[in-house]
């Protein structure tokens, strides 16, 4: 194999720095003893203390986790069904409905759901946010599960059927365990997408139903409300996602591999 030239190494290193430096700065300033995100003054944990006494932020975090958990549960079930159906049957409508929400800009789904909920006279709030999150997470789960099924050895199922297993039994004992890493990866994705979502929540949230990204947005948007507490909550959010990924990579190592 040819060696990669120094120039490419250098350029790639710069791009990696471009990817990580901004996040490192957010984390660093969460420990900075100054309410301006500008200059390093000294180490402090004050922003974290402030955060743990900030009822608005804690309520927003509770909302986010509750929405994320329900979204994860429902969209994993529906997404797995969709992925299996797309793999097993020749369908026309389902693949379109599953894939389009992923392909179009999020804002389009946000505004159409806003019109829809208002038309139904539904109060915008946690329920409307959760229903919307499920709608855009189904597709991501379905894609991961389908690609897992496509990589599966179909003869195993046939062998089980030849040995007398019913279709349901063959699914439970053979297919399900084999695609489990895909389902776990899909569930992880659904949970992360839900707790991260800003655009769709922005349009489907009513008054007084803040999620964490919405609360971060309102503070970042109005500089008076902005202080490194936002950095602290950002750091914790990154830690949460990172540890989720670590747990999944321990429980189901093949779940995180994209190309097998």
């Amino acid at each position: 194999m040819k060696k990669v030239s120094k120039w490419i190494w250098g350029a790639a290193t710069l791009v990696y720095a471009f990817l990580y430096l901004p996040l490192a700065i957010v984390v660093a300033f969460s420990f900075n003893d100054s309410n301006l995100n500008a200059e390093w003054v000294g180490f402090t944990l004050d922003w974290y203390k402030l955060l743990f006494h900030d009822d608005v932020m804690i309520e927003a975090a509770t909302h986010t986790l509750a929405i994320g958990a329900i979204t994860c549960l429902v969209s994993t079930v529906l997404g797995t069904l969709a992925g299996y159906a797309m793999y097993k049957y020749r369908l026309r409508l389902l693949p379109v409905l599953v894939l389009t929400p992923i392909a179009i800009p999020e804002i389009l789904m946000g505004v159409s759901l806003l019109i829809f909920f208002v038309m139904l006279n539904m109060t915008l709030g946690l329920v409307s946010i959760t229903l919307s999150h499920i709608a855009f997470c189904i597709g991501f789960v379905a894609i991961v599960v389908r690609s897992r099924l496509q990589g599966m050895d179909e003869t195993l199922v046939e062998a089980a059927r030849d040995l007398g297993a019913s279709p349901v039994m063959a699914f439970r004992r053979i297919t399900l365990p084999l695609i489990m890493p895909g389902i776990i990866a899909g569930a992880l994705m659904a949970f992360t997408l839900s707790i991260d979502d800003f655009v769709i929540s922005f349009f489907t949230a009513g008054v007084g139903s803040n999620t964490l990204p919405l609360e971060i947005y309102s503070r970042v948007k109005v500089p008076i409300k902005l202080n490194p507490e936002v950095n602290a909550v950002s750091t914790l959010l990154m830690l949460l996602t990172l540890s989720l990924i670590l747990i999944v990579s321990k429980v189901a190592p093949s779940a995180l591999r994209t190309n097998d």
Partner: protein, 308 residues
């Protein structure tokens, strides 16, 4: 009998997700498409099509004879009358296009390095590209608000350098520059991954052959690697250009008043001025643009594959 069970199983499996997406994706989309032809309500939103009397009985106001009192092409007319709106679309295309080109330039060395690394380090390098993508979108935008802010080290160093040349200090935040930086930062992984997946499959013997035939490094890249990588480039372009085109949060937070995109205008119509019919017209136009682009990218991608 067997057939009926199989058909029942098919509906049991595909039915629930189908029903959910029909209700919470297809129906809202159709309703929004319809809203573009309706009149605005007295207090914003939409003019009602039904009326509920004191007894709680709801009647439909629109019928076959009076439908023209309820449906209109006015909002579409407004879109085409003023060139401001077409201009805003063009500007959004320009931002998304510039973002895509910068992403290609930045993603190429990275994807090349990953594709040429030994199998073990490859997984780690890919993970390092994906990891920032798992962190919250707003945090990533906020990070750039800090970096480009007037009091940041970066701004101070830049402005002191400019001062040496006698240039007035510049504000980097709330500018087109900041919007493009934000768009590139958020979308870069979507260009690296498909490009890497493509470059990984290249036959290195082709490059050796080109070298033996006297091609220099630039010729080897431009005549061999680049044409072969076009399907990856097109896949990445679809993944970067389309979401970038509809972005509203990045111009909202990093841009100034002169760097808004279509997404900002749509948000404004729905939440601030509450002109839903016009907001729906803008959304339809954005949808059409996206569909055309997706079809083009699919066509260009498949053409590239045929050539191979």
């Amino acid at each position: 009998m067997q057939n009926r069970i199989q058909r029942a199983a098919k509906w049991l499996i595909s039915g629930p997700p189908l029903l959910y997406l029909l209700i919470f994706f297809a129906a809202p989309s159709l309703i929004m498409g319809f809203a573009a032809f309706r009149f605005g309500g007295d207090y914003g939103g939409l003019m009602p099509l039904t009326q509920t009397d004191d007894a709680g009985k709801t009647t439909l106001l629109i019928n076959l004879h009076n439908w023209h009192d309820f449906l209109t092409l006015e909002s579409f007319g407004r879109f085409f009358e003023d060139s401001i709106y077409a201009g805003l679309f063009l500007k959004s295309f320009w931002y998304a296009g510039l973002t895509t080109i910068i992403c290609i330039v930045m993603a190429y060395p990275l994807a090349w390095l990953i594709a040429r690394s030994p199998k073990k380090t490859r997984d780690l390098l890919v993970l390092l590209v994906i990891l920032p993508f798992w962190s919250n979108f707003l945090i990533r935008v906020y990070a750039w608000m800090i970096i480009l802010g007037p009091q940041s080290y970066f701004s101070k160093v830049l402005n002191s350098v400019l001062a040496v040349f006698g240039v007035e200090p510049v504000s980097m935040l709330f500018s087109q520059f900041a919007v493009i930086v934000g768009l590139v930062y958020v979308h870069l992984p979507f260009m690296v991954l498909p490009l890497y997946a493509n470059l990984e499959k290249h036959d290195m013997a082709l490059l050796d052959a080109a070298q033996d035939l006297g091609a220099n490094a630039w010729q080897r890249f431009w005549k061999v690697t680049w044409p072969l990588s076009l399907p990856g480039i097109w896949a990445g372009t679809a993944l970067v250009f389309i979401p970038a085109l509809g972005m509203f949060a990045i111009p909202d937070l990093l841009g100034g008043t002169n760097s808004i995109m279509v997404g900002n205008l749509i948000k404004q119509q729905f939440l601030d001025s509450r002109d839903w019919p016009f907001g729906s017209v803008l959304s339809i136009m954005l949808t059409l643009a996206v569909l055309l682009l997706a079809a083009f990218a699919a066509w260009a991608g498949s053409r590239g594959k045929e050539k191979q």
